[in-house]
Amino acid sequence: MPGRIRHRIRPRWFGITFILLWSVVPIYWTINTSLQTEAQIGSKPAHYLPPTPTLKNYQTLLTGSGPVPGEIRQSAVNIVVECTAATIITVLLSTFAAYAFARMKFKGRKVLFYAALATMAFPAYTTLIPLYQILTEFGLVNTYTGIVLVYVSGFLPLATWIMYNYLLSLPSAIEEAGLVDGANRMQLLWHVLLPLARPGIISTAIITFLFSWTQFLFPLVLSTDLSTQPLTVVVQALQGQHVVPTTLLSAAGVLAIAVPAVIGLTLNRYIVSGLLTGSVK
C-alpha cells in the first residue's frame, strides 16, 4: 500500500509544480523587469529578484508627461470604454435573444439559431477585410461605435449560446406561476428569470469582456489613431520603437494584463462554466 501511495502522489506533485511554473514564471519575469532600472536588466546573468525594487516605471506611466505615458493612458481609457460598451450590449442583446429561443416559438427560430451558431465555426479573421470595407463605407473606421459593433457581432453568437443553455436549465414552472399572477413576459424575464440566471449572465459578461480585452488584429485594422486605439495596439506599437526603454515597456505590459489577470484569478469559476458550455456545441 505505501508503495502505491507514493506511486500516485509523486507524478501529481510534478504536474502541480509544472502548472504553477508554466503559468506564473513568464508573468513574474515581466513584473521583475518592470521593477528594475534599464542598467540593472542589462546584468548577465540576469537579476532573478529586483536588486533595488522601484515603482518608477509605473509612476512614469501613470503620472508622467511625454508621449509614451500619454499614449498609454489614452489607450487604457479606450480599451476600458470599448470593452465595457461591447460587454453591456452583448449581454443585453444575447439575453433577449436567448429568452426568445429558450421560451418562445416563432417562425424562423431554427434558421436564425443555427445561422448564429454556424458563424462560430468560422475563424474570426474570415470577415476582417469585409468588415473594414463596410465600416469604411459607413464612416465608422476609427470610431468607438465601429469597434464596438464589430466586437458585439463577434461575441454575440457565443453569448447567446451560453445564455440559451443557462435559461434552458431553469425550470419553467416558476414562470408559469408568474403568468398566473398576471405578469407579462418582459416582467417575467426581468423579475423572475434574470435574478435566477445571474451566474449565466456573469459568465457571459466576463467572457465577452475578456475576449474584447484580448483583441489585437481587429483594432489594429479598424483603429487608425490614438483616439480609439486600445492598450493592446499601443503597447505593441511602442515595442516596435527601440527608443522606448524595456523596463517601461514591461510596466506597460503589466498594466495591460493586470485587469484580465485579476478577473481570471478571482472569477474563474464563471469562466470555466461559460467556456465549457461554449465549447461543447
Binding site: 513568464p26 548577465k44 442583446l93 425550470p171 505593441q236 481570471g264 465549447s279 461543447v280
Partner: protein
C-alpha cells in the same frame, strides 16, 4: 402548436387556463419574440453573413485601392498566391505552427487535466492559476515572452549561462526556421493550453469512479489505467480541445507579428494576409487568402473530429 407560448413541461401544460385560449392565440401574431431576436438577426446578417459572402465573392475580383476599379479576375488572385514564393514559405510555416501547436497543447492539456483529475486541497486555486494565460491578450503575451527569448537580457539565456549549458548569450529568434517557429508557437501554446486542459478535465470528470476501481482490481498499473481507461474515455474532450487548437494555430497572428515581425523565417499566413491587405492594399489577394485559410480551417477541424472524436457512453 404554432402559437407562441412558454415552453412548459407536459405536467404544467394543458391546464384550464391554456386550453380554451389556444385557438385564438394561434391566429394572433405575437411580435415579442421577433423584437427580442431582431438585434441578433441584424448583427448576424449584417456583420457576419454578408461579410462572409463578401469574402467568398471578392476573392475572385481584383480589389486594389491603388488600382481601381474593382474587376473580375477569375482565379487570378489564387494564381498570384500560389506563384508567390513568400506565401509558399509562410504556408509551410503555418503548417509547422499547426503541427507543433496542436500536438504540444493537446499533450500538455491532457497532462494538466490528469494532474487536476482528483480532488485535493488547493485544486480550485491551481485551476485559477492555470486559466491565467488564457485570459491575457496574445500581443502582450508576445511582449512577455520576448523578455524570455531575448538575445541580450532574456531569461532563457541567463538560465542557460548560469547552468553552464551555453558559454555566450545566443540569438534564438529569427536565425533558424524551425527553432523560431517553435519558440513563437510556445507562446501561443501558453495561451491556448488552459482551454485544452479544461475541456479534457471536463471529459475526465464524466468517467465513473467504478471504472478506475475495476482497473485497480484487475491489477492495472497507473500507466496502464491511463492508456486503457482515461485516454480512450476522454476522447470527446480531446477532440474538442484539438479542434480549438487547430483553429487557433491555423489563424495565428499576434505571436508571430510581435516576436517575428515581417521576416519570412517565422511569418504566418494570417500575418501575410494582413501585410498583403493593409500594407500593400491588395484586398483581392487578401480576400482569396482569407477564403483559403477559412476553408483549410473547416476541413482540418472536420478531419480532427473524424479522426479523434468518438461518442462515449457510460
Amino acid at each position: 402548436v404554432t402559437g407562441p407560448r412558454l415552453a412548459a413541461p407536459p405536467a404544467a401544460d394543458g391546464g384550464v387556463a391554456n386550453g380554451p385560449r389556444e385557438p385564438r392565440r394561434r391566429r394572433r401574431f405575437d411580435p415579442l419574440p421577433y423584437v427580442l431576436v431582431s438585434p441578433l438577426a441584424i448583427f448576424i446578417v449584417g456583420l457576419a453573413l454578408v461579410p462572409a459572402a463578401f469574402t467568398i465573392v471578392e476573392a475572385f475580383f481584383r480589389v486594389d485601392n491603388l488600382d481601381p476599379p474593382t474587376r473580375f479576375t477569375g482565379l487570378g488572385n489564387f494564381r498570384q498566391i500560389f506563384s508567390d514564393p513568400v506565401l509558399r514559405t509562410t504556408t509551410g510555416n503555418t503548417l509547422i505552427y499547426v503541427l507543433i501547436g496542436t500536438v504540444l497543447s493537446t499533450v500538455l492539456g491532457i497532462a494538466m487535466a490528469v494532474t487536476l483529475q482528483h480532488r485535493f486541497v488547493g485544486r480550485a486555486v491551481l485551476i485559477a492559476i492555470l486559466i491565467l494565460p488564457w485570459a491575457l491578450p496574445g500581443v502582450v503575451e508576445g511582449i512577455v515572452w520576448t523578455r524570455i527569448w531575448d538575445a541580450n537580457t532574456g531569461l532563457l539565456n541567463s538560465v542557460l549561462t548560469s547552468l553552464h549549458l551555453v558559454d555566450n548569450y545566443q540569438v534564438f529568434l529569427g536565425e533558424h526556421r524551425w527553432l523560431t517557429i517553435f519558440l513563437v508557437e510556445v507562446v501561443q501554446v501558453w495561451q491556448i493550453t488552459p482551454l485544452s486542459a479544461l475541456l479534457v478535465l471536463a471529459a475526465l470528470q464524466n468517467i465513473p469512479g467504478d471504472l478506475y476501481e475495476a482497473a485497480r482490481l484487475d491489477g492495472c498499473s497507473g500507466r496502464q489505467t491511463f492508456w486503457r481507461v482515461t485516454l480512450p474515455l476522454a476522447r470527446p474532450g480531446i477532440a474538442v480541445a484539438m479542434v480549438q487548437a487547430v483553429i487557433a494555430t491555423l489563424n495565428v497572428f499576434d505571436q508571430p507579428y510581435v516576436l517575428n515581425g515581417a521576416a519570412p523565417t517565422g511569418s504566418s499566413v494570417m500575418a501575410e494576409t494582413y501585410f498583403v491587405s493593409f500594407q500593400n492594399l491588395n484586398f483581392g489577394e487578401g480576400y482569396a487568402l482569407s477564403l483559403l485559410v477559412t476553408i483549410a480551417t473547416l476541413v482540418l477541424s472536420l478531419g480532427v473530429v473524424k479522426l479523434v472524436y468518438r461518442t462515449v457512453e457510460f
